[in-house]
């Protein structure tokens, strides 16, 4: 706890105006990220989980300033990023990189593998000479398990797993400190997924990387993350160390997510199959009053309708729930 955070996020809001039919109607506000605060410690993997539409990708993109921030603060090693001018973003881009979910869609089909991996070097380190750039690209390719002979191939010639290796090489070639991985293995097959997760863990050890690892698969996150942040409807529900979270989830939403993860064991799976979740997500344009989760929560009461729970510390974990003590019991 004593080491200063690498990334500090405070009260971050990302809102989108949504037009309504009818000329005179004012647009509604979609709060995709709503008052989100967390720290990322140097060298850790922070897992971010939640159902689709809960703001995981919006948060990832906002951290990198790929989309505008509405309010709040994001500081990397103490430097405020939300107010940086465009020109001043270059050093930020070197320190923070992103890996995307759909490997093939995120690679330019007209560029060769070599060009794709070299591109961030050209953009962010324009003074680097050609020979050195080529060296770096080749070294990076080798580290992610691509062959030097593949340098002149095009993305469509690669399988999903190989394409994701290209995406990883492109993100790491500028030697960033923090890598935001947005569902990097969700689109991959089981046997390939585990290869890529192991690769990410190796690269983290070799390069001293810090990851924000976004995923909807809680079993994968348990494997890779040191701490986990649970998002629901743009809000933080819980932030807890991995082992504590999986052993004893305190937030009712965390419990719901965990109880739905399929278990590849027919005996256990059938014992558990009793109680699937009630209800689906509310509309993000018409969130319930009080606690956003209350329409699906088995513990909801009048206080949950009236009062939005704040993120508070309980036994070294952070939970936004009025009845967290009861839920964890």
């Amino acid at each position: 706890m004593s080491e200063p955070a690498l990334l500090e996020v405070r009260d971050l809001d990302v809102h989108f105006p949504v037009r309504r039919p009818g000329l005179l109607r004012s647009p509604l506000t979609l709060r995709a990220v709503d008052q989100v605060s967390f720290d990322v410690r140097p060298g850790e993997v922070l897992g971010v989980v939640g159902e689709s539409g809960c703001g995981k990708s919006t948060l990832s993109r906002a951290l990198l300033r790929l989309i505008p921030v509405t309010a709040g603060s994001v500081r990397l090693r103490g430097v405020e990023l939300t107010t940086l001018e465009k020109a001043a973003l270059r050093p930020l881009r070197r320190s923070m990189q992103m890996i995307f979910q759909d490997p093939l869609a995120s690679l330019d089909p007209r560029m060769t593998v070599g060009e794709i991996i070299a591109e961030p070097l050209k953009a962010l380190l324009p003074r680097m000479d050609r020979a050195e750039r080529q060296q770096r690209v080749l070294r990076m390719m080798q580290q992610v398990g691509l062959l030097p002979a593949q340098i002149n191939r095009y993305p469509h010639e690669f399988s999903g797993g190989q394409a994701q290796r290209i995406g990883i090489a492109r993100a790491l070639v500028v030697a960033p400190e923090l890598v935001v991985c947005d569902e990097p293995v969700s689109a991959l097959d089981v046997s390939i997924k585990s290869q890529v997760i192991n690769l990410l863990l190796d690269l983290r050890a070799e390069h001293g990387l810090t990851y924000i690892f976004v995923a909807h698969d809680l079993a994968t996150v348990r494997h890779i993350a040191d701490r986990v942040m649970v998002l629901y409807m743009g809000r933080v529900m819980e932030i807890t160390d991995r082992d504590a979270l999986y052993a004893r989830p305190l937030h009712p939403y965390t419990r719901l997510l965990l109880s739905a993860v399929p278990i590849p064991d027919p005996t256990l799976a059938r014992q558990r199959r009793a109680a699937p979740a009630r209800e689906e997500l509310p509309s993000p344009l018409a969130l319930p009053s009080g606690c956003a989760f209350r329409t699906r929560c088995p513990l909801a009461d009048a206080r949950c309708v009236a009062e939005r729970p704040i993120l508070r510390e309980i036994d070294g974990r952070y939970v936004a729930c009025h009845h967290a003590e009861a839920a964890g019991a």
Binding site: D189, V190, S191, P264, D265, P266, A269
Partner: protein, 331 residues
């Protein structure tokens, strides 16, 4: 296990004509589906799961050909004329897909799409058809069904759309429901609901369900028997508890060991299957899993292992007879 076979598939192959010559997506599939059971089919993408069942349904792409046999209730249905197939599809078998949007017309209300099925196949009046649709939506637990009939597909969430697809498929009370990755695009919470729904429907109507998925967790929850596919071939088939507890194929072992799972202690590294699936355009003489297998011996390269019975309805295609347990950790 005396239940009679509803569908018998024998030596089914699917071949596509491509610019690079013929590509065999499925080779010699042999299985049956019994009334009221859930048959799981698991394998990675490209292993031939979808094409096997599209062939049975008569829905292959134009450049695809099916060979072999598929008998529904004793009657040959493979490669029937399109008219006969269309009638079968509306009546005795139905298929739902990962993305319900692809099977829906975005410009028609859900009610219109559903009633059309009944008016075509059952000759019901508009009013009767509507009442049946309301009942069908209610049976998949869609509340406020009458009002929902006048909504468009995009007004439904992904999970609701999949429920609508299931309701539509069930309108004609099919004996066989083929579900191709029905929950892959959904969140785990919604997935759990859809799986519970399929289980309920199977019990209520004794519909036989084929559950196609790459997810061993989904299969474990619902399937009675499981077939494992690799590179267009069945490599193992068994009753579900046997498959998970006493698998005998190296590929099944690799798959089961590479899944991160919450019911076991966390390991530092995940087991992996090195390499990747083969290119189907090249047809190896030997075992298609050979380049990735930890148990490979000379014969594996020379001869294709046939699917043979190990007793107790357990089948597998592998030359290796020794103990498993050598799956690679951490490559």
């Amino acid at each position: 296990m005396a239940a009679e076979a509803l569908l018998e598939v024998r030596n089914l192959s699917v071949c596509f004509d491509t610019g690079d010559g013929p590509v065999y997506a499925v080779n010699g599939l042999d299985l049956e589906v019994r009334r009221g059971e859930v048959l799981g089919m698991v394998g990675e993408s490209g292993s031939g799961k979808s094409q096997s069942w599209l062939a049975v349904m008569g829905l292959l792409a134009k450049n695809g050909r099916a060979e072999g046999s598929a008998r529904l209730g004793g009657e040959e249905i493979l490669n029937l004329p399109q008219r006969a197939l269309r009638r079968l599809r509306g009546d005795r078998m139905a298929m739902i897909f990962q993305d319900p949007m692809t099977a829906m017309n975005p410009f028609l209300t859900v009610g219109r799409q559903m009633t059309e099925v009944l008016e075509c196949h059952r000759g019901l009046s508009r009013r009767e058809a509507r009442a049946r649709c309301v009942a069908a939506l209610e049976s998949v637990h869609i509340g406020d069904a009458a009002r929902r009939l006048s909504m468009y597909p995009h007004e439904f969430s992904g999970g609701m759309r999949q429920r609508v697809m299931i309701a539509t498929a069930l309108l004609t009370e099919p004996q066989l429901l083929i579900c191709d990755e029905p929950t892959t695009a959904l969140d785990v919470t919604v997935q759990a609901q859809i799986l519970a729904l399929l289980d309920e429907l199977r019990q209520r109507y004794r519909t036989a369900i084929v559950l196609i998925t790459h997810d061993l967790g989904v299969i474990a929850q619902l399937a009675d028997r499981v077939t494992v596919m690799y590179a267009g071939r069945q490599v193992e088939q068994a009753e579900v508890h046997t498959l998970y507890g006493a698998y005998r194929h190296p590929y099944t072992e690799g798959l089961l060991r590479s899944v991160p799972r919450l019911d076991q202690p966390r390991s530092e590294r995940l087991a992996t299957i090195p390499g990747r699936p083969p290119d189907l355009a090249r047809r190896p003489a030997g075992c298609p899993f050979e380049p990735r297998c930890a148990y490979v011996t000379e014969i594996c390269r020379q001869r294709m292992p046939p699917l043979v019975s190990l007793g107790d309805a357990h089948l597998r295609a592998c030359h290796y007879d020794g103990a498993l347990g050598r799956a690679e950790i951490g490559a």
